[in-house]
């Protein structure tokens, strides 16, 4: 379980301009869909954008706060 502010904080450590929306898929705040918008995604493939998001959230994945994660990314213009 993780709250939106904590998750957004983790993302912004490596993607400082990230605009983050979190959707709770199961009502337990550990199966999540996260939508991230950032200028940092410009020119990056979808695979690399997802790698950036996963890398930013690595510790919350490893300790189980996030069990399942769907990722949506968008380039911030």
């Amino acid at each position: 379980m993780i709250d939106e502010a904590t998750l957004a904080g983790l993302l912004r450590r490596s993607i400082p301009d990230a605009q983050v929306q979190v959707f709770d898929l199961t009502g337990t705040m550990d199966h999540l869909r996260v939508s991230v918008r950032s200028r940092a995604f410009a020119g990056a493939s979808l695979l690399d954008r997802h790698r950036m998001v996963e890398a930013a959230l690595r510790e919350a994945r490893a300790d189980g706060r996030i069990h399942a994660l769907e990722i949506r990314t968008e380039v911030l213009e």
Partner: protein, 117 residues
């Protein structure tokens, strides 16, 4: 020195035009995302293979290192890594996936729409 786990993965990737490393099997997926991936490819009708690596920690580690991708499922098409349905879904919506699949299967139409008689 050759790593037998990596060699096994390379053999599997080379032997299957669409290959999903997941949790559970086609008949008994043991993870929502693996099920979602199976349903995703069922819609296209091309043959695909699912290899269960849920209990195989060394193989999961090798796969993650080889792809720089921490999670399952992991999808390979024609030997190339495509991540999961978070990547493939948008590709399909943009019309990018069908040509790749058609090319991979040499222009053969998917089994689901082939009329045998």
């Amino acid at each position: 020195m050759a790593d037998p786990i990596r060699e096994e993965i390379e053999r599997e990737v080379a032997a299957n035009k669409i290959l999903v490393y997941g949790k559970g099997t086609k008949d008994q997926p043991r993870c929502g995302f693996t099920l979602e991936t199976i349903e995703f490819f069922n819609r296209f009708g091309y043959p695909f293979e699912v290899i269960d690596v849920l209990e195989n920690v060394p193989k999961r580690s090798a796969l993650s290192e080889m792809t720089d991708w921490p999670t399952l499922p992991k999808v390979f098409i024609a030997g190339k890594f495509y991540g999961d349905t978070d990547i493939l879904g948008p590709m399909a919506e943009q019309g990018e996936l069908e040509p790749i699949l058609a090319d991979t299967f040499g222009g053969q139409r998917p089994a689901a729409v082939v009329k045998l008689h």
